[in-house]
Amino acid sequence: MAHALSQRVTTADGTLAILSEVELAVKAGETLAITGASGSGKSTLLGLLAGLDQPSAGEIFLLGQRLNDLDEDARARLRAGRIGFVFQSFQLLPALTALENILLPLELTGRADARERAAHWLDRVGLAARASPTPRQLSGGEQQRVAIARAFATDPEIVFADEPTGNLDADTGARIIELLFELNASARTTLVLVTHDDALAARCQRRLHLVAGRTAEAASA
C-alpha cells in the first residue's frame, strides 16, 4: 500500500518531481498494471513499491511492514524469498547456466531442495531440455522464461515485473504474457507489472495510469 507517495530528485536545473501524491493499495493475489508514457514515473513507482528505493515523501507498506522505517538492509531482508522480479533486460548472470540462474535466489534463501525446485521451475517454463546453456546461448524469449522461472521459484508473495515484454517481439511477448499469468494464477501470487503494452495491461485486474507522476485514472478490468 502506498499513501501520498512522492519522489523528487534534485538536479543541476532544480528539483524534479517524478511522482506526486500517489495513492495505491494492492490486495493479496491481485494483478495490477502500472501504465503510462515514457518518463511518467512507472519504473520509479515499481522500485519504491518493491523497497528498492526510499520515497521523498509519503508512506509505503509492503507485506505489512512500513518501508519508511526500514533501512536498506532491513528492506533487503524483507524481500528475501518473498518478492520476485522480472525485468525488461532479463538480468540473468552471464556466467551461470539457465538452471543456475534459477537456483541463485533459492540458494540465497537457503532452501534444502533448491536444485530440485530450480529444475521443476525450468520444466514449468518449458525449458527442461535447456538447463545448461548460459544466457548468451539462449534466445530472448528463452532468457525471459528463465527469468520468470527465477521470479516464481522461491514461492514469492509478490512478483514485480518491469516491462517484461519490452525487449521481445510481438509473438514471443504474447507467449511470455501467457506464461506469466498462468504461473501467477496457479501460484496465486500478487503481480505488479509496469508496461506500456495495452494488451498486457488488459490482462490485469486493475490498471494504474500515470501521467507526469500523478495518478490519472484507475480502472478495473
Partner: protein, 859 residues
C-alpha cells in the same frame, strides 16, 4: 547456502573471466617475486644461526693485527691461528692465496671437512695438515692446475697438497672470497720466509668453555684491547654477519617489492574492472534480499580465495626461482643450505593478501554499495564511497607493506619518496611521449593512424601502461649498464701502461736486487714506498673518537691500522688543497700509487700491502709534519694545524698536519691517507711497495720473479679486477632474474588495462567491421597500437637509463659520460616485442568474432 559458499560458487563459474585471471596472474608475479628473495634470505640467515658456535669455530674469537702476549687468567680451551696472504706457485702458475696457519686444536667448535678429491663432501678432520703438507680449496687446485698429492711452492718452502678443504667454519660458499684458502701448520710458517716486517697479519685467538667462564674472561678482556682488536662471541659473530647480510638482503627485498607494487597496479585495475562488470550482479543480489554485510562476505570470500590461490602459486614459483638463484649466487653452498623454511611462506602470503586488499579495497567498497534500484535503472552508479576513505585505506595498507619491507622509517621515507618521484617523472614523460605520438599520428595513415588514434584515445590507460613498462625496462637496462659500463669504463680510462702489478713486502735488503731484476727485464716500475702500520689515536691531545660527533665515531679509519709512508715528494695524482706540502713538489719516478683503502680494489690490495709493525724506537717530535688525504680529513673533522697522535706498535708518535691533499684513488697507483715528512718513521724496519707495468708479452717474466723473490707478494690487478667483475656479474645476474618478475608485472599492467577497455574496443571493432573494415585492417591497427606503445616505453626507458647512468658515472665514479646507441635500439625492440605480444594476445579475438556475435554478446 551461506554467502561465503555462494561467493565460491560464483567464483568457480566466473573463473575464466579475464579480470580474475589477470588478478591472479599479477598476484602470482608479486608473491613469486617476494617469496623468491624471502626464501633465499631465510635459508642463508638460518644457515648462519644453525651453525651457531661452529660458525666462528669457537665460543669466543679475538682478532688482532699484532700478537697478544698476555691474557687475563682463564681456564678455557684455546687455539691460535695466523692468517695472511701469500703467493702459492706451481711451475709457471702462481696464485695469491689466503693462508691460515693453525695449531692442532683448531677449530675448537664445528669441524673442517677435508676431501681427497675436489667436489667431494669429505670427512671431518683436524684442520692442521700433516708435516710438510697443506690443505687447499678446490678453486686453488683449478687455478694452479694441480692435483692432490702434487707439490706447490709457498715462499721458499715446498708443500705437498694432502687434501681439499670441502667445508670450514663460517663458510657458506667460496664465491665471495677473492683469494683461495690454504691451511698449513703454524710451526712450518718459518720455512717459507714470506713474513717480512710489514706483512699484514691477522692473529686469530679462539676460546671455548663454560658460558660463565667465557663471560668473565670476555669482561676482563675488553678493557685491555685497543680499537683494532676485536672480541667476537659466537652469538655476536653470527649476529654481526647476519646484520651485514640483512642489510644487503633488505635492498634485494625492496627490488622484489617494486615488482609487488607494480603487480598491485595491475590488481587494482583488474579489481576496478571486475567491480564495474559486477554492479548488475550485486544489484540483483540485493533485489533477491542480500544485505550489505552478506555482499561484503561474498566478495571478500572471492578475493580471499583468489588471494590464497595466487599466493600459493606465487610461493611455489618462488621456491623454484630461489633454487635457481642459489645456483647463481652460491653454487658451492647449494647442498649445505638448510631446506626451505616456513617463515617466508607466511611473509609472502601475508604480503600477497595485503597487496590484494590494498589494491582492490576501493573497488570492493563501491561494489557492495550498489543500490538495488540499479536493476531498473542501469545508469545508477554505486553510492559514492568517500574518496578519502578508500584512498586512506589502500594507502595505509600499501604503506604498511612498504614499511614492513624497508624496516626503518628513513628507508620507508626514501623508498616512498623515490617511488612518488619516479611515478611523477614517468607520468610526465609518458604524457610528453603521447603528445609526440599525436604529431606522428597526424602524418601517418591507414592502420597505423588508427592504432595511434586508439593509443591517444585511451590516454589514461596508455599513460599507465607506458609508465609501468618504462619502469620495468629502465630497471633492467640500468642493471645491464652498471655491469658492463662501470668496470669497463674504469678500465678504459686508465692510461695505457698503467701499473698492472703491485710488488708488496719488499724487504730492505731486496730493494736493490728487485730494481736490478726489473731493469734487466726492461720493466717500468714506480718508486718504492716504505710502509709502516699505525693506528690514529688522538687529535690535539684528545682521544680522536671524543672529538667527533657520535655518528662519525664508527669510522672504519679508526678501527683499523693505517698504512703510513714517508716521502718528501708530492706523488702524482695528488693535489694539495690546503696548507703547504712538507717537501719538494716534483713527482718522483714514472708511476706510483696504491689503491685506496675501501674501494673495491683496495680492500684486497690493502690486505696484502700493509707492512709489519716492527719494534723501532720512535721519538715524539712536535715538529713532525704530515699530509692528510682530504676525504679522511673531512670524515674525521681534521684541519691544517691539528696535531695527530699515532700508535705504532707499542710506541706513540705525534705529528702536525701541514697539508691536506686530494688523491685520485682510482688511478691504480699507490696512494696513502697519511704521508709523513721524511725523518719521523725512518728508523722503523719497513718493507716497501712498488707498482710495475708488465706488458702482456712480458708476462712470462713473473714466474721467474716469484722464484727469485718467493717472499714478495705479486698482486695481479687484472686478476683482481676480473674477480670483482665476476662476483659483480654473478650478483647482477641474480638481480636480473628478479627483474624478470618486474617485466612480467609490467606486462600484467598492460594486460589489465587492455582488458578494462576490451568492451569499448569490441564495440568499436564491431562498428568498424559492420562499416566494412577488414579483419586484417583491425589486426594491423592493434599491432600498430601496441608496438607504438612498446617502442615509446623502450625510448623512455632509454632516456631514463642514459640519465641515470650519466649521473652514476659522473657523480659516483668520476667516469666520462657516454651514450649507448645499442640501448636505443634494444629497449624499443624489447618493448615492442613484449607489449606487442601481450597486447595482441589479449585483444586478438575482437578481430575474429563475427560482428553479429559481438553485438549479441555486448547486448
Amino acid at each position: 547456502m551461506s554467502f561465503s559458499r555462494l561467493g565460491l560458487w560464483l567464483l568457480r563459474r566466473e573463473r575464466s573471466s579475464g579480470e580474475w585471471r589477470v588478478l591472479l596472474l599479477a598476484l602470482i608475479i608479486g608473491v613469486g617475486s617476494v617469496s623468491t628473495t624471502g626464501f633465499l634470505g631465510d635459508r642463508i640467515k638460518r644457515a648462519m644461526s644453525e651453525q651457531g658456535a661452529s660458525f666462528l669455530g669457537a665460543d669466543l674469537l679475538v682478532t688482532s693485527p699484532r700478537p697478544i702476549e698476555s691474557w687475563p687468567d682463564h681456564t678455557l680451551r684455546t687455539s691460535s691461528a695466523l692468517e695472511f696472504a701469500s703467493m702459492v706457485s706451481r711451475g709457471d702458475a702462481f696464485q695469491l692465496a689466503t693462508l691460515r696457519a693453525v695449531d692442532a686444536a683448531y677449530p675448537l667448535r664445528g669441524s673442517v671437512r677435508i676431501a681427497d678429491r675436489p667436489f667431494e663432501t669429505g670427512t671431518p678432520r683436524p684442520a692442521q695438515p700433516p708435516p710438510g703438507a697443506i690443505y687447499v680449496d678446490q678453486e686453488l687446485l683449478a687455478l694452479l692446475n694441480a692435483q692432490v698429492g702434487e707439490t706447490v711452492q709457498i715462499g721458499e718452502a715446498t708443500f705437498r697438497i694432502a687434501g681439499v678443504v670441502a667445508e670450514e667454519p663460517g663458510q657458506l660458499g667460496g664465491v665471495f672470497g677473492f683469494a683461495p684458502r690454504v691451511f698449513l701448520r703454524t710451526d712450518e710458517i718459518g720455512q717459507t720466509h714470506v713474513l717480512q716486517p710489514g706483512s699484514r697479519l691477522t692473529y686469530l685467538y679462539q676460546f671455548a668453555g663454560e658460558p660463565d667462564s667465557l663471560s668473565v674472561f670476555s669482561g676482563a678482556l675488553k678493557p685491555v684491547l685497543d680499537s683494532t682488536q676485536r672480541v667476537i662471541g659466537s652469538r655476536e659473530g653470527v649476529e654481526t654477519l647476519r646484520g651485514a647480510f640483512a642489510n644487503a638482503d633488505r635492498y634485494i627485498q625492496l627490488t622484489a617489492l617494486i615488482s609487488l607494487l607494480l603487480s598491485v597496479a595491475a590488481i587494482a585495475i583488474a579489481a576496478h574492472h571486475h567491480a564495474l562488470r559486477h554492479y548488475d550482479q550485486a544489484a540483483l543480489l540485493r533485489c533477491f534480499g542480500a544485505t550489505t554485510a552478506q555482499l561484503r562476505t561474498l566478495y571478500a570470500v572471492q578475493l580471499l580465495t583468489l588471494g590464497l590461490l595466487g599466493s600459493a602459486l606465487g610461493v611455489a614459483i618462488g621456491a623454484l626461482m630461489q633454487q635457481a638463484l642459489v645456483g647463481l649466487i652460491l653454487p658451492d653452498a647449494a647442498t649445505r643450505l638448510p631446506s626451505l623454511g616456513l617463515a617466508p611462506v607466511g611473509v609472502a602470503v601475508v604480503s600477497g593478501l595485503l597487496a590484494l586488499a590494498g589494491a582492490s579495497l576501493p573497488a570492493l567498497m563501491r561494489l557492495i554499495r550498489v543500490p538495488p534500484l540499479r536493476v531498473l535503472r542501469r545508469d545508477l552508479p554505486p553510492l559514492p564511497v568517500a574518496a578519502w576513505i578508500s584512498a586512506v585505506a589502500s594507502g595505509a595498507v600499501l604503506l604498511l607493506l612498504i614499511a614492513w619491507y624497508a624496516g626503518d622509517a628513513k628507508l620507508v621515507g626514501i623508498f616512498v619518496g623515490a617511488l612518488v618521484a619516479l611515478v611523477g617523472v614517468l607520468i610526465l614523460l609518458a604524457r610528453l611521449a603521447l603528445v609526440a605520438g599525436r604529431g606522428v599520428q597526424k602524418i601517418s595513415y591507414g592502420p597505423l593512424r588508427f592504432g595511434l588514434a586508439q593509443l591517444l584515445r585511451h590516454r589514461f590507460d596508455s599513460t599507465l601502461q607506458l609508465g609501468a613498462f618504462t619502469l620495468a625496462l629502465f630497471l633492467v637496462a640500468l642493471l645491464a649498464l652498471v655491469r658492463s659500463d662501470l668496470i669497463d669504463g674504469w678500465r678504459q680510462q686508465l692510461p695505457p701502461q698503467s701499473p698492472n702489478y703491485f710488488l708488496v713486502n719488499i724487504a730492505p735488503h731486496q730493494q736493490q736486487p728487485v730494481a736490478a731484476y726489473l731493469s734487466q727485464h726492461r720493466l717500468q716500475a714506480s718508486a718504492l714506498y716504505p710502509m709502516v702500520r699505525g693506528r690514529l689515536t688522538s687529535k690535539n691531545g684528545q682521544p680522536i673518537a671524543e672529538t667527533l660527533p657520535p655518528d662519525a665515531r664508527d669510522s672504519n679509519t679508526l678501527r683499523r691500522e693505517l698504512n703510513l709512508t714517508w716521502t718528501a715528494t708530492l706523488p702524482p695524482n695528488n693535489t694539495v688543497l690546503a696548507g703547504r706540502w712538507h717537501g719538494e713538489r716534483r713527482a718522483p719516478a714514472p708511476v706510483k700509487g696504491m689503491p685506496k683503502v675501501g674501494n673495491p680494489l683496495s680492500a684486497k690490495a690493502d690486505a696484502e700491502l700493509t707492512p709489519p709493525v716492527g719494534t723501532p724506537l720512535l721519538r715524539s717530535d712536535p715538529s713532525a709534519e704530515i699530509s692528510v688525504e682530504s676525504g679522511m680529513a673531512e670524515r674525521l673533522h681534521l684541519a691544517v694545524g691539528d696535531t695527530l697522535g699515532f700508535q705504532v706498535g707499542d710506541q706513540t708518535l705525534a705529528a702536525r698536519i701541514t697539508s691536506i691533499r686530494s688523491v685520485k684513488w682510482d688511478s691504480m697507483q699507490p696512494n696513502f691517507f697519511v704521508i709523513f715528512a721524511p725523518g719521523q718513521l725512518d728508523a722503523l724496519p719497513a718493507s716497501s711497495i712498488a707498482s710495475v707495468y708488465v706488458p702482456p708479452d712480458a708476462a712470462g717474466v713473473l714466474p721467474g720473479f716469484i722464484k727469485t723473490f718467493p717472499g714478495i707478494t705479486v698482486l695481479a690487478l687484472d686478476k683482481l679486477i676480473a674477480n670483482i667483475e665476476a662476483v659483480f656479474a654473478q650478483i647482477i645476474r641474480a638481480i636480473q632474474l628478479l627483474l624478470g618478475f618486474l617485466l612480467a608485472a609490467g606486462m600484467a599492467v598492460v594486460v589489465a588495462t587492455l582488458l578494462a577497455s576490451l568492451d569499448a574496443r569490441q564495440q568499436e571493432a564491431v562498428l568498424l567491421r559492420t562499416l566494412g573494415a577488414q579483419r586484417a585492417y583491425l589486426a594491423k591497427g592493434l599491432w600498430s597500437e601496441f608496438i607504438a606503445l612498446g617502442v615509446l616505453a623502450g625510448l623512455l626507458a632509454s632516456v631514463c637509463a642514459e640519465i641515470a647512468m650519466a649521473l652514476i658515472a659522473d657523480r659516483l665514479f668520476d667516469l666520462p659520460v657516454r651514450l649507448h646507441p645499442w640501448l636505443w635500439l634494444a629497449l624499443p625492440a624489447a618493448g615492442a616485442l613484449l607489449v606487442g605480444m601481450s597486447g595482441w594476445l589479449t585483444t586478438r579475438h575482437i578481430t575474429r568474432v563475427p560482428p553479429m556475435q559481438s553485438i549479441r554478446a555486448l547486448n
